[in-house]
Symmetry: C2
Subunit: 379 residues, 2 copies
DNA sequence: CATGTTTGTTAGTAAACACTACTAACAAAC
DNA sequence: GTTTGTTAGTAGTGTTTACTAACAAACATG
């Protein structure tokens, strides 16, 4: 804490110098974020919300209108004295984003989304089950098709891919697609001429939950699919990790009592309890405890693995995303209870485990949110 | 986006606008950081390092010299053509920081440190073992004494305290000190008239390791004392958590095979294996495996607890701090091996577990680093 | 000694936002 | 219907910031 009013040093500890143009971009993004989050707003309200003066806001809004990101939508209607303000809103349907979800097994999914993250157009490209690997060109073609199908100018292309993805848009390894070292970001950028963002599917999902959903500033999202992955937001920032492999907790050993053999060759991996195939099996072969008992054990194991993470980061919220018939209440409750039983919690509401919102489109929405963040400074 | 999520989003995006004065502070801090890290530097070199122009740097340096944070130390001596530059350096001994370490049991520790984080003056205030609690006034008096003993003007006071500390400098709960809801930050600020920073001891320690040591951008520091605490830096940012309790992993249940009864009333807490008292006991009563076997088991348990954290955050480095006779190689190795055995690592050097540097003064140095960060933008 | 190089400063310019003052528009009170 | 007070938005001016251009000083090298 600082009790005196001495000038605090800059909070932004970036390594680069600040120029006036960057200041401008920062404040433009600030205004856009405020309007995006708050809906139609008058310039005066923006001024109060940002701390900028009304003339400064007028100037910024004028530039954003000029760029096509904001539009005037009407007048305030109110019963207070004074001139009613002119409402400006994000040009929600005037720009679009193309998003790709490469995680589904039966098809490649693409979509055009508006600036709210709502899907406007859907495209699917079924995949041959026998295919050894997916030709990256098919992905590029699908992206081009989506761009062509967009009803509005496209701001950029976002991709949520399985596997390990570098910050430069290179997919280092994606066994499900049969890819190693695929420069998808560069290929897409070349083909479409648009800004491209590529990230891991779990990172995209947590981004969607954080930016477009109701996510808190510290958030862990568990993604249950063929395997298990996680995406993390800490202090409002997505976590990448020292080797870009943050969230890879599917093969963490859980407990000290062995477990089934995992496809990775070891025993007791989290995936052997918590993954779509494992949960399907558990539900198909109910033990003596009934249909839910098997799922309860999975939740318990998940809680055991999560407890140290929750305690270390002091997470307030864990979100689980996956097939709706598998992410059932019993799983959520068992997970929450197991975490609570294994950490020293002062309050009963320290942690909530909940389902993701719009699980079907979460990767598409997250990939779109990524583009909105990089292109407009939204988030 | 549903309407119900808008208030939260608006709250999150209420980052402050950038004014010219803040730009100035940012660039001043940038220059200071560069010199602090690189030693005596000429203005032209600073210009190249920051990307700012030479006139801008001259102006910034002039202001920093005016404030007393930089000094000219001499001329470059070199054998290249051109005018030799005038070297400027951080006024390393011209300003000081007062730091307090409240974690020791036998005494309160205070120190005056220079801008490099080197201890210049030490003060100890022995505590009565029988004391029920520590009078905050004693801490305030010690701080005043340290300020008076400083050979240079004091920039601020940093405090590393056990227990839960809010960002406003309130110590919510510190059983070891007998404190609940102690507004130490405000009291110190009032008494000294200086900026005050208060934080948890583990947070201070990780700050020291990150800022003044050789810490990476993602860092977990385990602090072994009467109990066990941790401090976290993720993406270069210290982690506070949803309730300000990040790093409280001492009472995480480890494994699924029970364990000794913990003072918190449950079984299998990490502290029952890894804490100063537990390790002392283990070393005093060697099992059949010998003196090291008991410590090895502690390291193994620590690794079991850390594995999910390391995997989720993709940490490259874990640092262990504690009494030197307890943090022995066997503990480090056992921890590292246990983590490796329980996560899917692609490379053998994915994670290194090492000892902290200067373990004795780590909290003092971290508390000082906090002040340097808030007051000068260093770090 | 002339030449080229590098440093640091001065003078002027451009960009961004703050401040003040003004007009426009509206509600409430008379 | 008129007055009063309040709010929104816009000009114009001033301050702060950093950049560009130009220059003198100091040095190595030929």
């Amino acid at each position: 804490m600082s009790a005196t009013t001495q000038p605090r040093a800059a909070q932004r500890s970036s390594r680069t110098a600040v120029r006036s143009a960057q200041t401008r971009e920062h404040n433009l993004a600030l205004v856009l974020r405020l309007v995006h989050a708050g809906g139609p707003t008058s310039r005066a309200t923006i001024a109060r919300g940002t701390g900028l003066t009304r003339p400064a806001v007028s100037d910024l809004v004028a530039e954003l209108i000029d760029r096509g990101h904001l539009v005037e939508t009407g007048m305030e209607e109110q019963n207070r004295p004074g001139k009613p303000g002119v409402l400006v809103d994000v040009n929600r349907s005037g720009r679009a984003v193309v998003a790709l979800d490469l995680t589904a097994y039966e098809s490649l999914r693409a979509a055009v989304l508006d600036l709210d993250g709502t899907v406007v157009v859907r495209l699917d490209r079924p995949l041959e089950q026998s295919e050894a690997g997916v030709d990256p060109q098919v992905v590029v073609d699908l992206a081009l098709e989506a761009v062509a199908a967009s009803p509005a100018p496209v701001l950029g292309v976002g991709v949520g891919s399985p596997g390990i993805v570098t910050s430069a848009g290179v997919i280092t390894m994606a066994p499900n697609l049969g890819w190693t070292e695929v420069h998808l970001g560069a290929e897409l950028a070349l083909a479409t001429g648009l800004p491209v963002e590529v990230c891991n599917d779990a990172d995209a999902a947590v981004r969607a939950e954080y930016a477009l959903g109701a996510g808190a500033d510290d958030l862990l999202l568990i993604r249950i699919g063929r395997g298990l992955g996680a995406g993390l937001v800490v202090g409002g920032q997505p976590v990448r990790g020292a080797h870009g492999a943050a969230g890879e907790i599917g093969h963490v050993t859980v407990g000290t009592d062995g477990g089934r053999l995992c496809r990775c060759g070891r025993r007791g991996c989290l995936e052997t309890w918590v993954s779509a195939p494992s949960l399907e099996t558990a539900l198909a072969n109910p033990t003596e405890g009934g249909r839910e008992a098997a799922v309860t054990e999975a939740g318990e194991r998940l809680g055991i693995a999560l407890a140290p993470i929750v305690a270390a980061l002091d997470l307030g919220e864990v979100v689980i995303d996956g097939p709706e018939h598998l992410v059932i209440d019993e799983l959520l409750l068992a997970t929450e209870r197991a975490v609570h039983d294994r950490i020293l919690s002062r309050l009963p509401l320290d942690l909530t485990v909940r389902r993701s919102v719009q699980p079907g489109d979460i990767v598409l929405r997250g990939a779109a949110a990524l583009v909105l963040g990089s292109q407009l400074g939204l988030v």
